[in-house]
Point group: D3
Chain length 275, copies 6
């Protein structure tokens, strides 16, 4: 589902058979100017979605983004300005803000994680723990915040997790099964929970190993064992307090579901004045 | 957009042309049992959505909810059990959890707000600051947490906000304009920011007054002035620390966008075992 | 479903894999001028839909509305002119007329009702007895004819009818149940069929009372009892012959399903000439 | 668009995010019985659509049609009975009736036309003047009333009308153009307005001739000239008063837009009782 | 489903959440020029679809068709040129070619059939053996190649095949049943497999007779018997080797499923250069 | 787009507002038995799609597949049997066959390719040269024929082709750019046309190298140079005559667009008998 469709559905959800309040109070010919004002510091993501909201409500609205995707902003900064029929600005306001505040929230939280480890080799990556239906936007927000994307979905990556491994009969067997039938364009990632399994993973020829819920000591040993041969990803217990220590173990990737499932919205208001 | 459609889109987003990992490692005939296990305390909302996820991936999966919508749970509680083809359980897992964790998060946060003011007359209500596309689910989660719903959207309520009032030429004029053309089944709510505007609102015959960003003292005066004649709703600066004091001013309703735009996901895991 | 989607479906229904007759007989480069000519007097509603029909078939067609929504017209009046490729005009003709004739019919019939009671205080309102799928257009046609809209649908108004009341155990109980859980932005309307029930409705604090199928005498008594305290709506047996007497009883609203379920199409023809 | 989709859209239009009144007043476990009662005589069409309405709202509702498509009914007759959760019966009621009343209205009106000419050779046929989006249902209602269907749409029939003929340079040229490119499975019908054009149509090898707005005398002459060689269809000025005279001229077909664009709804009520 | 929708689905299928390769390697501001170069001779069909592909990916791409629908081309010919952002050209390339190569293949194969019988009276017609979902495009490609279209689908033609005849009790009965209820605008075609059935078909007043799998001798006799009275269509065993002999028997139409179900794609490449 | 949706669209395309012939000739209560009979040898793919066609037209039809996906069949073999209402069997017939014949054709052609190289190490893989909209089915048919799938689309694989390389400034630069930003789960494939470029590809750390249009001698040298270090894929000029020689050079993969863009339909008929 593309952005245009996402916006169309969100507008239908919020406007439905009509914005009654605006219809009753705003004269048809009146123009207005709407300013997106940051009430909280953050990182820009999703102004392009806000723009699409106004465009769908009324193609005559002019939208000017004053900040770029991924740019940091402070309280009081103006992020964008929309000009056009006042009624259209009012009817699109809430949906545009609902998208923008959430995406800026994800970008800002990702940025915080990234900042904590900026002097290490590790990269912050997202997960599939995204809002149902909004993944393409939320993964873009992670990139805007300086993070990297893990696989997008179940169809574009192979990640053998505990359940797959248990059924296959072990790490080696699971990797072998995957290799036998996988499209040759996909790497094979396997989750391990201890160093013995890591040994199996290395021996089986996995391309990437997910180190799940390991202690810092285990992570260090894992890096010593496999860091030069495969890509190592740490997950579990990752938060702003722990991420730096994890990164310093030498793992290549650190994945955190919180980037998308628990980011708070950034407070942004739309100030509309008649022209 | 009904629940069935929401789930279909979320599954299409996550599974797309196929869950490659599962296809490569899980035998077609193998059955499994999946247990939804709470890793954090919370309040149930959305097990019916999780059930629909499994049903759409595979109608032969049996889903049993062990907790009811709105019921509180503790760490370690089992919320539901699904039984059926192991491959189907694995393919539906992430989407089911993505819905459930978010909705339980909203219900839990709402529950906290409601608990803080349980000995007052005030009710907690939500806003239109919901995730685009998921409003029907998120408003249900607010109810599960003990909150009440404000208008669903722009089409089923009249709320004259600062911009509408400015254009109409004042509170009285805005209420008059609304009353002249509104469907007779809708009440008219108007936002005011000071006591003088409240006076105008009362005089104009508004049915509900939204007291925006007022101090506790102002709220108390507002209640003294209008509490017996109209419904009073407080908004702005509402959080877990402030909500009790606000409620004690005697307002009837307290609305909080945070219920839906900033609730963290509740950690719930799906433990799958082969049968 | 927005107007654009309604028109797209109607065109798909009528044109499908192609307008064979036009393809076989109208040269690609030929331009034409199409005039909407009234063959019957009426009230304009839906020229904006007709315009959308031409626009979707061919964006190069120029459409000029000569009359405004809600304007009365006589036999022989020209309502609009469309200019562009002759083949496009021909392919869009029937669908544009099918919408326009129906909507003008509803507007004209509403106008007749409204005219009969223009010297009373009563307003004519519509019902949910609309053509499935076309409600948004038909309710707009009612407004074009001078009528007012009742609730749009089941989601934006509370109307306790006989069945709800019977189940709840009486008028008082039904109103109480509704008040306990309803969004605070919606008024509560309750249907009564005699004066005793009206008394209950008044006592229970209903906001609006629907007086169903009452005699003129009953309506007068109802107005005497409750007219100053609640809004009163008469329904049942409303037609062009009875509406004036009903209005003169002093009720505030008169609802008539016939406005939308039994209006005849107004005869309008499209006269196309090659340019 | 199939029936299932039409019903889904109509229900979404009317129920949207929820039937609030029913949710507030009808207990979840209560069952009911709903009887479709004719308040006016008519002809059955569309009980299958009403059934689909209940089925989509709640698959556990049992629906029993007591009359068949095309069967006449009198005031007081019971047409169908639905049994199931009372809340489901109430939520589906209006949409089911909106479909049924309209379709029975079309069937009844068609039946009246057909009755007037039952001792002639002529058949009553419909037109493309149907409600946008509901053509498949309305054409079925015409059949239920004893009428026949003309072409369904622009894609399954060739009908050269005045504008096509004018552009092509005359009746003969238009028919020749059509014959040159038409799929060999379609007949060619041409509209004429006088006997000279009829002569051209006969000479050009048209399969069907539409006699538009001719007087009874002209129709008789037309039948004398062409009745044995081509199919003759009369249109224009067809109503219940004129149809018999037109039929007696010997034309094969009489088409009337009024069947679908101006039929009044038949009054049918749904009486629901708790079980 | 219109062309715009077909292209949208095809692009969604191929691009999904993003053209990763292009995003990683093609700078945002770079422009390019893409030339459609024929690597094989053929007949043009579908450049309008290719244009729509580019337009949907990026409305700023300029597309110029250098050949017309139905025009023959040789190896090395340039069919069209597209200019615009290089990334957009690359992302649309494969889908545009997938449509174009298939449609040119159908047009070219049809053209070969048509050429073989150009000095006879017979016409080549297609069948319903088209690619699911692409019928409107493939039938247009047949016309581009000089062929004619048979009925588009089950809804716009009556063709009584062996199974229908068997059930009806014979050719005469089947034709009679069809004539009794068919819309008067459709001809009636009936399939026969021998001359006795042909006799029945002629006697029953069928409009068209499909001669299925007859020998050349049978076809000649069939033409002698019925050629002057009904339209005769030969089918079965039609290929480039046999078509000329079949045409010379004097049948009016020859239908071949191979036109659409077994045409090979024409090799066309897109050569993109940076500007 | 899932299989259910693909089938729904194909049925809508072919049946539209109704299968007129069947409606006119097949009695409602009659049952039949339909046998899928192979008129040509082939390999089964798509019986599950045929089953879905019958199921959607009429859920009461019983469908029994007698052969499995991927199983070879001979002339005269029965592939499946469907039993149910004769009218439903007839209405679904053509769409079911259109899917099945195409998919069996792809499986059969793939099987031929695979057979030619069964004693080598090479695998046959498909391309993105599939029918727009049917890729998921056609890629499954390739697997049924014994082939392997290349990336599904632009979103799940990185393939640097000539144009990407030219823009990036060479093979090394292109691979470096891809590696810098690619999701860590995807391998990087790069196309080369000569051995010098292959050298660059190897040096740059590409995971897979596509050897485009190389002679057998070049392919052998390529294998000697890189076969032990990267995966090598040959493409260009691949047909049933050349594939064996190409495979014997030692390449790992051979890709052929012809598998999907130029496979002929396998002749399968549906023989329906009344029960």
């Amino acid at each position: 589902m593309g952005i245009s469709d996402l916006v169309a559905r969100a507008l239908a959800e919020d406007i439905g058979h009509g914005d009654i309040t605006t219809q009753l109070t705003i004269p048809a010919g009146m123009n207005g100017r709407a300013v997106f004002l940051a009430k909280q510091a953050g990182v820009v993501s999703g102004l392009y979605v806000a723009e699409e909201c106004f465009r769908q409500v009324d193609p005559t609205v002019q939208f000017e983004a004053l900040r770029s995707e991924g740019e940091a902003f402070e309280v009081g900064d103006t992020l964008a300005v929309a000009t056009g029929p006042a009624a259209s600005l009012l009817s699109a306001e809430r949906v545009a803000l609902n998208f923008l505040q959430r995406l800026c929230g994800i970008a800002a939280l990702t940025h915080e994680f990234v900042n904590r480890i900026s002097d290490t080799q590790a990269r912050i990556v997202d997960t599939r723990k995204t809002t149902p239906g909004l993944r393409v936007l939320e993964k873009a927000a992670v990139r805007a915040g300086g993070g990297s994307n893990h696989r997008f979905a179940l169809y574009d990556g192979i990640l053998l997790k505990d359940n797959h491994i248990a059924v296959a009969g072990g790490v080696s067997q699971a990797v072998a099964a995957a290799r036998a039938g996988a499209p040759h364009t996909l790497k094979i990632e396997v989750e391990v929970t201890n160093l013995q399994e890591l040994g199996e993973a290395l021996a089986s020829g996995a391309d990437i190993v997910l180190l799940d819920n390991m202690s810092l000591e285990q992570l260090e040993e894992a890096v010593a064992l496999g860091g030069g041969r495969v890509m190592l990803e740490a997950s579990g217990g990752v938060n702003l307090d722990t991420v730096r220590d994890i990164a310093q173990t030498g793992v290549h990737l650190i994945s955190a579901g919180a980037l998308t499932h628990s980011a708070s919205a950034i407070d942004i208001s739309l100030q509309i004045a008649a022209l």
